[in-house]
């Protein structure tokens, strides 16, 4: 019986908590409508397309390929990223560079972002620091899967 009463009290308390939130938030909203500036806000919502959340520095966003000072890709087509990628969404085709100090460069470098799970393993695996996920771009949704297949030009650009 006492236990049941305890439940009952807690139920009421729960109701009071939600009521408090309702009333307090409503109060701050009204203040805002009346043009009174307060430190606290009525909601924590970020109004997305107009207002954007700041991206953390370690956030993994759209990939990019780094370049050498002369604009050639830094990537040496070692295919370690291809090997490590759990989604098997990277494809690299190597070719011979005339410069014997470079030797190998990617003739094709394709990431199928439609499959990528943004684990960042490719970045970890790369011995040349040639691929990074620091563009801060998280808005690259497309209407067709085909448009999510990024090639060398798009990744460097």
């Amino acid at each position: 019986m006492i236990k049941a009463l305890g439940y009952f009290i807690e139920i009421i308390r729960g109701g009071l908590i939600t009521t408090r939130h309702f009333v307090v938030n409503l109060f701050y909203h009204i203040l805002k409508v009346l043009g009174i500036k307060t430190k606290r806000k009525g909601s924590v919502t970020i109004q997305y397309p107009e207002q954007k959340k700041e991206i953390a520095s370690r956030h993994r966003s759209l990939h990019r390929l780094m370049t050498r000072p002369d604009g050639k890709p830094r990537c040496v087509a070692c295919m370690l990223c291809v090997t490590v990628c759990p989604s098997e969404c990277i494809y690299v085709e190597a070719a011979e560079d005339p410069d014997p100090e470079i030797q190998k460069y990617p003739a094709k470098f394709i990431i199928d972002l439609g499959r990528c799970c943004f684990c960042g393993f490719c970045v970890e695996a790369c011995p040349e620091d040639a691929i990074r996920m620091d563009t801060g771009n998280v808005e690259f949704a497309q209407y067709s899967q085909q448009d999510l297949i990024y090639d060398l030009d798009k990744l460097i650009g």
Partner: protein, 526 residues
């Protein structure tokens, strides 16, 4: 190459008693006992050189560490391969080897197969203590028809030099300069042009010699190995076919990326010739993967089952005299022993077919070592089975023939299309079993795609009469079937001796049958 029948002595490796042949080296004895001693310059094909110092072991009673590759075993020798001293020594050796090594594994084709890399990982020297800059050397030196030498990666094991000295005897490479400046190079004005040059890339323990054919194509860890036999000449060298199983999302241009030698002391030792090594495009190029029906009256058949039924019906409806004179067969020597045996049994023995021809590639030149002049891997087998190897004679072939069964893709290469068309147009029914699509395939009523040697099971008889079995290394493409399967089905349709065409035929059972019928195959098949 065998050193059998030597007396066995007892030695102790890592406190484990091990039997070793007298006169063998510590490294070989350990290898035999399943204990791996790291080594780089030692190669079983050559006498020990002792230049890399990786193989150091501790032997009781010897004050210093000894080279296991060149120390001969003695009775009661106590060897330790894992003691602290040994491990420290190996680390030191590795550190020195790496002192001048560029460590460009990301762009090195050897990565994944590289012994230096493997040992480096095993002994975990992850911090370099050298502050000095490394010696600059030639990084991309073309030393032969398809070989590229990177002197920086070379660890001066001289395997390549020894290969050219002892196997090909051409001696194009040598070690030049002294001390830290020493490097491998070609003698001026020469170049590694022999037919065995590809082996250099394989025996180089690091990525110093790379193969232009394989260079940058893919990474070795993606590849899978399948054992097979090279069908490009009658030597029957044992090979490893390295193929890419494919990525789930992206299509690859081809399956097979390289061919490597597979050790077989009786046939090819450790080597294969360049023809076999680089001539693998036949595995992927122009393959037929669908049954093609050009003309079969009144029928709408597309599976092999239907077609075999149809063929069986047509042959059974001929009179036996007609079968003898009206059926013609074109065979080739890429067929396995088992397949040739079935063909012999069905057509020569039972149907008494007279017109049996062989269409093979024209003879080439032998090179005096492995490569023979016959580009037909099973000519000897065909002879032993009892075929009389006759070249195709188109006028005899077409004369009075109602039914032609042609095997192999080589016919179109032997005659001009016009001539061939004229001859074939006289024959009423024509069936082709070929692995390749070719425009002249349209001359036949039906074209059945068949598997290649790398894709089926069977055995071949090489030029020396050695019968070698093989298992499929690759999947046959599309609807391709192995010929033995085709022939078993056909035999069943013709209502023949059920022993051969049992419910689940296999080349193995066929070969054991052959052993009973033909003594030649018996003794090889013990």
């Amino acid at each position: 190459m065998q050193e059998r029948a030597n007396e066995m002595i007892k030695i102790f490796i890592d406190e484990k008693p091990v039997d070793a042949e007298e006169g063998t080296t510590v490294l070989k004895a350990a290898e035999r006992a399943g204990i791996h001693i790291p080594h780089l310059c030692y190669h079983p094909a050559f006498p020990p050189e002792g230049s890399c110092r990786m193989c150091l072991v501790e032997i009781e009673g010897f004050p210093k560490l000894e080279l296991s590759c060149s120390t001969v075993v003695k009775e009661e020798m106590k060897i330790s391969t894992k003691s602290e001293r040994v491990v420290e020594a190996r680390k030191a050796v590795l550190e020195f080897l790496l002192a001048e090594h560029p460590l460009d594994c990301p762009i090195c084709d050897k990565a994944g197969d590289c012994k230096l890399q493997d040992y480096y990982y095993e002994y975990g020297l992850f911090e370099s203590q050298f502050k000095e800059t490394k010696e600059k050397r030639e990084k991309k030196l073309k030393i032969g028809k398809s070989l590229i030498l990177d002197q920086e990666r070379c660890i001066l094991c001289t395997r390549c030099v020894r290969f050219l000295k002892e196997v090909t005897k051409t001696q194009d490479l040598g070690v030049f300069h002294r001390g830290v400046h020493s490097s491998v190079n070609i003698y001026e004005g020469t170049s590694v042009e022999n037919n065995y040059s590809g082996n250099l890339a394989e025996i180089c323990p690091v990525g110093a010699i790379t193969d232009e054919d394989f260079r940058f194509q893919t990474r070795s860890w993606f590849l899978k190995e399948g054992e097979s036999i090279c069908p490009l000449c009658s030597r029957g060298c044992n090979i490893l076919i390295e193929y890419h199983p494919g990525f789930s999302r992206f299509e690859l241009p081809n399956r097979v990326y390289r061919i490597k030698a597979r050790e077989n002391p009786e046939v090819n030792g450790f080597w294969i010739c360049d023809r076999g090594r680089y001539g693998y495009s036949y595995l992927d190029e122009g393959r037929a993967d669908k049954i093609i029906l050009n003309k079969i009256e009144g029928e709408n058949v597309l599976t092999w089952e239907n077609i075999s039924e149809y063929l069986g019906e047509k042959i059974n409806s001929m009179s036996s005299a007609k079968k003898t004179s009206g059926i013609a067969l074109i065979l080739h020597t890429w067929l396995s022993n088992e397949e040739l045996f079935l063909l012999h049994k069905i057509f020569k023995k039972d149907l008494k077919v007279e017109k049996i021809f062989f269409a093979d590639l024209p003879e080439g030149e032998a090179d005096g070592f492995l490569l023979t002049s016959e580009p037909s891997p099973n000519r000897r087998g065909a002879q032993e089975i009892g075929f009389d190897i006759k070249a195709v004679d188109l006028s005899t072939l077409a004369d009075g023939t109602d039914f032609l069964l042609a095997f192999g893709p080589f016919l179109s290469g032997l005659f001009s299309p016009k001539y061939l068309k004229g001859a074939l147009s006289k024959i009423k029914r024509k069936v082709l079993f070929s692995s390749y699509s070719h425009e002249l395939n349209s001359l036949f009523d039906v074209v059945i795609p068949v598997a290649l040697i790398a894709e089926k099971e069977g055995s071949l008889t090489n030029v020396e009469g050695i019968v070698q079995g093989f298992q499929p290394a690759l999947e046959p493409p599309g609807e391709s079937l192995p010929e033995w399967k085709v022939l078993c089905d056909l035999g069943k349709e013709l209502g023949m001796d059920s022993k051969f065409y049992s419910e689940f035929p296999s080349p193995e059972t066929i070969l054991s049958e052959m052993g009973e019928k033909i003594p030649f195959f018996k003794k090889k098949n013990d």
